[in-house]
Amino acid sequence: MAGKGVVTPAKDRADLVECLKEAQRQYGYVPEEVIAALAESLAIPVHEVYGVASFYSYISTRPLGRNVIRVCKSLPCYLKSAEMIMEAVAKELGIGVGETTADGRFSFELTNCIGLCDQAPAMLINQDPHVDLTPEKIKQILKSYH
């Protein structure tokens, strides 16, 4: 875990969410060491930093894979058989929701509405939108992430 407390020290309380996101980008999650370092540089309690980190669903306090798949589970996608997409992802990767592949390549998560309801079912991989999904498309899409 050496070196995992290294992020740009926060100067301003308002930068906290940004700093946490930076750690997320750098390590794939926000390690405890980063939380402690941010608390110290802002002179606020550790629990306050942890409270912010754990509040947002795109910031994770547990390690995630290099690529995070987020399949939308909200009603407009559900109506367009999002469950078949979830099954296709699970089958392709051999993992369930909330899990990470052994090689650390993918984490599989579900998400609430991502605003792509007109092109449902939809998912995000990292920041990229993938729309009008079918189970057949999943294999091809996953191939492009390493």
């Binding site: 996101k21 947002y56 605003g115």
Partner: protein, 398 residues
């Protein structure tokens, strides 16, 4: 009443990557008019006279909000554009940001003139990160053309939280905190971001500002109904032939949008306004789309006869339970309990006593929740109990 393009008039017309394309179609003329020919008081009274109400769901009169911030004492004031479109089934702001970022920037700059703000923020939801560079490019071009005039416009990204679309939670999030709703008063217009007078407007609300300044309040208020002026952009999804974004004059019947434009057939029910919105059965399709009837942020999710009402309401409540910020008890606990009860009905294990409990809990949550999420969370339950009570009663354990 037909479709009309006011908010979307430049979408698919201009090149959203080039400011010159926007200028060729008359862009930034409203800003020039506001800056050269109008005082801040004149701008706010024009917006007030137009009858424009907020397009993010709550429908608060925009001019009154602006007036509050305009007259509030203080040298530092803020304009925030709420681009945290998170309501289930809403995607109109995504479409607008993608197709016409310049009108939005012009609207924000006029808002800045009106209240005397030098700093603005666009709060963009994390799920729309792929629009960040595109928006930044539009802001850069406006800067290079000299339209910012000392006004600084920054994009702040969210990190995945539905509640941050609620204005007070949004401000806490910009301040780097957990996005939790604040107690009010004080209202943002006097004590908002970092305690300074602040206005927070939805993307679509701000899109209406340049045309109102250009064409006048009278032109705008001719469109719509008594209490709902202008047009509304709807996001239509679900069991329809043509999902997408449609702009209609307010007061248009639901049927026209759902059946004629979006091509829905054999409609069982429509959810208007997303998870916190209302549910209408298929035989209420003549209901006007207006603040005085049903509207919200304009999410229209259509369900056909094959769908199970209890399943829809249960999923709606699961969403709200997950997204409740947890600060106030009625919402945090109420949404959880409702989701559990609805799950029992879904499995055919409900009881008549629990139907009564749902109703009692609904009124307690509406009355005592801190913000709009908890206050509106029971809507789907109450509406479905009114229109589809048989569906509940048929799921009572024998």
């Amino acid at each position: 009443m037909p479709q009309q393009r006011v908010v979307l008039k430049n979408c698919e017309v201009i090149d959203p990557k080039r400011i010159d394309s926007y200028l060729e179609s008359g862009g930034f003329k409203a800003l020039a008019k506001a800056r050269r020919e109008m005082t801040p008081e004149q701008i706010t009274s024009e917006i007030k006279a137009s009858g424009l109400r907020g397009r993010g769901g709550a429908g608060f009169p925009c001019g009154i909000k602006w007036e509050g911030a305009c007259t509030a004492p203080g040298d530092i004031k803020y304009v925030i554009c709420n681009a945290d479109e998170g309501e289930v089934g809403t995607f109109k702001d995504r479409y607008i940001l993608e197709k016409d970022p310049f009108t939005l920037i012009e609207g924000i700059l006029i808002a800045g003139c009106a209240i005397g703000a030098k700093q603005g923020y666009i709060y963009l939801r994390a799920e729309y990160h792929y629009l960040l560079d595109h928006l930044q490019n539009a802001i850069e071009q406006a800067k290079q053309k000299g339209y910012m005039n000392g006004f600084s416009l920054e994009i702040r990204e969210g990190a995945g939280a539905y509640i941050c679309g609620e204005e007070s939670a949004l401000m806490d999030s910009i301040e780097g905190k957990r996005g939790e709703a604040r107690y009010r008063p004080p209202f943002p217009t006097t004590s908002g971001l970092w305690g300074k007078p602040t206005i927070i407007n939805n993307v679509e609300t701000l899109m209406n500002i340049p045309p109102i300044i250009m064409n006048g309040a009278g032109w705008f208020s001719q469109m719509g109904t008594e209490q709902s002026k202008g047009t509304k952009v709807f996001s239509v999804s679900g069991d329809v032939g043509k999902p997408g974004v449609y702009e209609m004059v307010l007061g248009s019947p639901l049927r026209e949008l759902v059946e004629e434009l979006a091509m829905a057939k054999s409609v069982k029910l429509v959810q208007i306004g997303g998870a916190t919105g209302r549910i209408l059965p298929g035989d209420k399709m003549d209901t006007p789309l207006a603040f005085e009837a049903v509207l919200g942020a304009g999410a229209v999710t259509v369900y056909n006869q094959s769908r199970d009402v209890i399943d829809i309401v249960r999923r709606t409540m699961e969403f709200l339970a997950e997204e409740s910020c947890g600060k106030c008890t009625p919402c945090r606990q109420g949404t959880e309990v409702m989701a559990e009860v609805l799950d029992r009905f879904y499995k055919g294990e409900g009881s008549l006593k629990e139907l009564q409990n749902l109703e009692d809990l609904s009124s307690a949550m509406m009355l005592s929740s801190l913000c709009g999420l908890g206050q509106a969370a029971p809507n789907a339950v109450m509406d479905s109990l009114q229109y589809f009570r048989d569906d509940y009663e048929s799921r009572v354990a024998k």
